[in-house]
Amino acid sequence: MLGLAARMLRHRKGTFVATFLALAAGVAVLTVCGVLVESGLRYKGEPQRYGAAFAVIARHQLTVQGPERFGERETSTVTLPERGSLPESLVRKVAAVPGVANAVPDRTIAVAAAAAPKVPVAGHGWGSAVLTPYKVVSGTAPRTQGEVAVDERLAAAGKLRPGSTTAILTGGTVHQVRVSGVVKASGVRGPQAALFFTDAQAARLSPRPGRVDAIGVIPAKGADREAVTAAVERIADGAGATAYTGDELGLAEQPEAVAAKSFTLEAGGAFGGYAALIIGFVVAATVGLSVRYRRRDFALLRAIAATPGQVRLLILGEVGMLSLLAAVVGVPIGLLAGLWIGDELVTRGFVPENFTMSGGIVAAPAVTVAVAAVALLSAWIAARRTTRIRPTEALGEAAVEPGLGGRVRVVSGLALLGCAVALTGLTGMTSGQTAMGAAVGMLYMFVLAIALLAPWINRATAVALAPVLRTVFGNSGYLAAANLRANARGMVAVLTALVLSVGFGGTVWFLQDNLERQTVVQSREGTLAQHALVGGAGLPAAVAAQARRIPGVLAATGVRRTSVIVPFMDEAMTVVAQGIDPQGADRTMDLKVRSGSLAALGAGTVAVSSSQADTSGWKIGGKAKLWLGDGTPVTLKVVAIYDRNLGFGDVTLSNATLAGHTATDLNDHVLVRSAPNADVVPALTKLADAYPASAVTTTDRFTGALAQDLAISSWLNKMLVAVLVGYAVLAAANTLIMAALARARELSLLRLVGVTRRQVKRMANAEQAALLGVALTIGVAIAAVTLSSIVNAIAGQPVPYVPALGWVVIVGGTVALALVSTIIPIGRLLRTPPVEGMGIRY
């Protein structure tokens, strides 16, 4: 049977190309997702800094306990946006564990060295050098407050020797230090150069007094390592932290690695889910169609000799072989694309430099099996339908179009449509995250409902548009309407793919544009200050105070960008936040306060955006429970609710609340409002000069940079959507080409009975106009409803913004699709003399 299947494949290449393309592209797309997920799972960072430790306790994640369901407690884990820290008292607890020789606290201090400004440097206390370990190569270890030891990399880059003096910037201030020695690590070179202070100095410079970033565990010789691990894990658990051992040590030293891990897992998983849905649908439709076009072959086989089981086996054999072939082509493409995406993710700063795409060994076979399973399942369903047809059909040449579809299909389609419409109402009444979630649910329901109801929609379109087509296209239009009606079932894939592309793709793509635009607009409109003092390495709180003293400066606000974690539906959600000096902030920024006042902002209070207030149910004067970026739980009183969330974040805190809870504990920039006519730039520039890596810029340029950052972060979303839309369009084109080429006989017949070539072409044009026009209309309608709901929910703008180029791409793309997939193939068919086309084609 397989031999026969192989011969069928070779002979009927045309019919199988479509299926093959759908399968191969599906395998490629899913392989990319699989590789992302697998790389994320495998990625453990690179143990370098803690290479000599047995275990390291650190806190990079926050786990929130959800409610108990079905006897299991649900938890959700988010990566802490700011470096988490541990209380110093934990060091003694770890040291007391039997078998632990040494519990070494480590503090990581952001440092910029004036001698080598381009080298990223992290400062530590010398006591933590044993965790790598670092050995003194020349000179000595740091012994006094003004001494530091530098590693070979920093020494080489900054031409530093024992005894040289150099300036370093940390905590926003410049320190003159003397190099006591040069040290060398035995293991691999890490992403950052190391600089060591004395332990006392490190504790003083640490932005979080009384706390440490990590605790390294060095066990005693001959200690029971398993017992030590268990005890250390217990202590870590008690402190809400994690004990990392073995090859996980890389995660302990690099919080970015933890973030990158969950980022790739989420991106690959979520996108893989959508992609699997679409690919499953496309593969099923294409396989079903290719089987349907060869019904006569199968009927003949049935009549002369083949049992239903043999025909099913034949169809399954064909599709199985195609799946394997598709995997052979799709997997390498997917792996290459995965490598490319890995590079792009590193370049764009989504993941750390040492992140590598290491997946494939598990992902590729898994994807191959999954796609083959979907293909075989749909082939089996199509084959069952085929073998149920009586073999006598082979005797007649009329290929009877099967019915539109079962009752289950109509009922579930209508039910979904009803739900989607109901959700439209819900999105209109709520706002914030609830409305956003409802809008996304609505989008899916609309698309699924259309997919299910597609045969009837096609039929209804044909009936409704028949008079229009007749009026516009004359006799050709009459024929077109009849064809559309007869092919209602065959064109299901086209309608669904286009609605999906336009509805889904349009929503996600333009949502990014809307967010970018709204963010920039809100930020520009809400920034009253004319100048911004931006510190590349952070600015201490004193800078704002110094700026306020400059004559002509009306107000100066120190701002730090951070994130906080809020509970949402039993889970933890990270939201963008800012910390400000409340004093005079109403003169540098206008958050569009809706109720309450920013003047009341201080330690223990918070201002939140209206959409966040809706999402979390917060009210003026009420309590807001949340976690600061480092995982510290706080309960704050809500004193103001404002509208400009996109430009300024959903949560605005006083810097007093944030003190000690961000990684550097410094401000990112200072907004300066000056009196009209007062030229404060020279004085500000002078102020900036005192802080290395900082500069004065106008706030206009400042918001421009913001837009650029957003464009980078929306890159991944847009690329993934582009891939999905591309796939859906490929599916539509496939179906159309397959349908067009199957019409040789029909077109020849039409020409023999006196329809001119011109009329046949007009007929094809009319069909395309009706089919694609309706698909486009439905897609645009769905995108419009969803997009306006979402944009209204998060930005309070009822009318979404769609760039002119967006319209051009949608309409132009559809016209191109019609041209390439139908009008050109039909033009080619028309070049065959009709008598030849009528010949019995095998």
Binding site: L300, L301, R302, A303, I304, A305, T307, Q310, G396, I840
Partner: protein
């Protein structure tokens, strides 16, 4: 097949077939008929007379609404779809008007397809003889699309003969052929009956084709209205013309 072969290869007992739901159409009404071994029978009749339905029911391609169909001593009415297929594969040959061949396969592969599907190796001497008989020895490696209509029908005949079936059913085997080619194909069928003792049951609307048969049956409205030992072209044509006049309906091109 050690049991002595019964004289009748195919037997229909009170076979009725109705189609459709709300306004059922009776295609066959309690038809009783037997087909003897080693004979060629032509089944004729105007469009809608039930001749194709008779063929489909007799061949196990379609199931009668009531009544029994026997191939040899085997009753088809209670068989599963799979057993029916196996029976068709082993004991029945088919020749249709068109679309007889699988386009992906060569002439030789098409001829051997039923044996291959049955998982059997046909007797090579017999295959060679059949191929020689239909005169396709030089075209075995060709694909159906490279053959003329008459050659395609000859391939179909070879395919039907190779399994040494008890009966070969033909549905308008010459419907798509010109007179000269049709004569060749019919001659081939006739010689299969005469030389190999084959049994052939053929549905046709062509009196010339029917004149090759030993027996001509005429159907009208689901009943057998005439059953004649070879009456000659002239008489067949007269009978048909009479039926046409009685029914006052135009003769459609095919489908009975």
């Amino acid at each position: 097949m050690s049991v002595p072969l019964p004289a009748d290869v195919v037997r229909l007992e009170r076979v009725t077939k109705t189609y459709g739901g709300e306004q059922p159409v009776t295609a066959l009404a309690e038809v009783d008929v037997r087909f003897a071994r080693g004979t060629m029978t032509a089944v004729m009749g105007p469009s809608g007379s039930g001749k194709s339905t008779l063929l489909h029911c007799a061949a196990g391609l379609d199931r009668p609404t009531s009544g029994r169909v026997l191939i040899g001593t085997t009753d088809l009415s209670t068989m599963s779809e799979k057993r029916l297929t196996e029976l068709r594969r082993d004991r029945i040959g088919f020749i249709f008007q068109a679309f007889n061949l699988v386009g992906a396969l060569t002439v030789e592969q098409n001829i051997l397809l039923p044996a291959r599907l049955a998982g059997r190796r046909p007797d090579p001497a017999w295959v060679a003889e059949v191929i020689d008989r239909v005169g396709l020895g030089h075209r075995l490696g060709h694909r159906p699309a490279q053959l003329s209509g008459g050659q395609q029908q000859r391939v179909a005949i070879a395919r039907a003969l190779v399994t040494r079936p008890e009966v070969i059913f033909c549905d308008e085997p010459t419907g798509a052929l010109d007179t000269q080619t049709a004569a060749e194909v019919l001659g081939l069928l006739r010689s299969a009956v005469d030389q190999f003792g084959q049994t052939v049951i053929m549905v046709t609307h062509d009196p010339v084709a029917a004149s090759y048969a030993d027996r001509v049956m005429v159907l009208a409205d689901g009943h057998i209205v005439r059953d004649m030992p070879q009456p000659g072209v002239q008489r067949i044509a007269e009978q048909l013309a009479m039926l046409d006049r009685r029914q006052r309906q135009p003769v459609a091109s095919r489908e009975g």
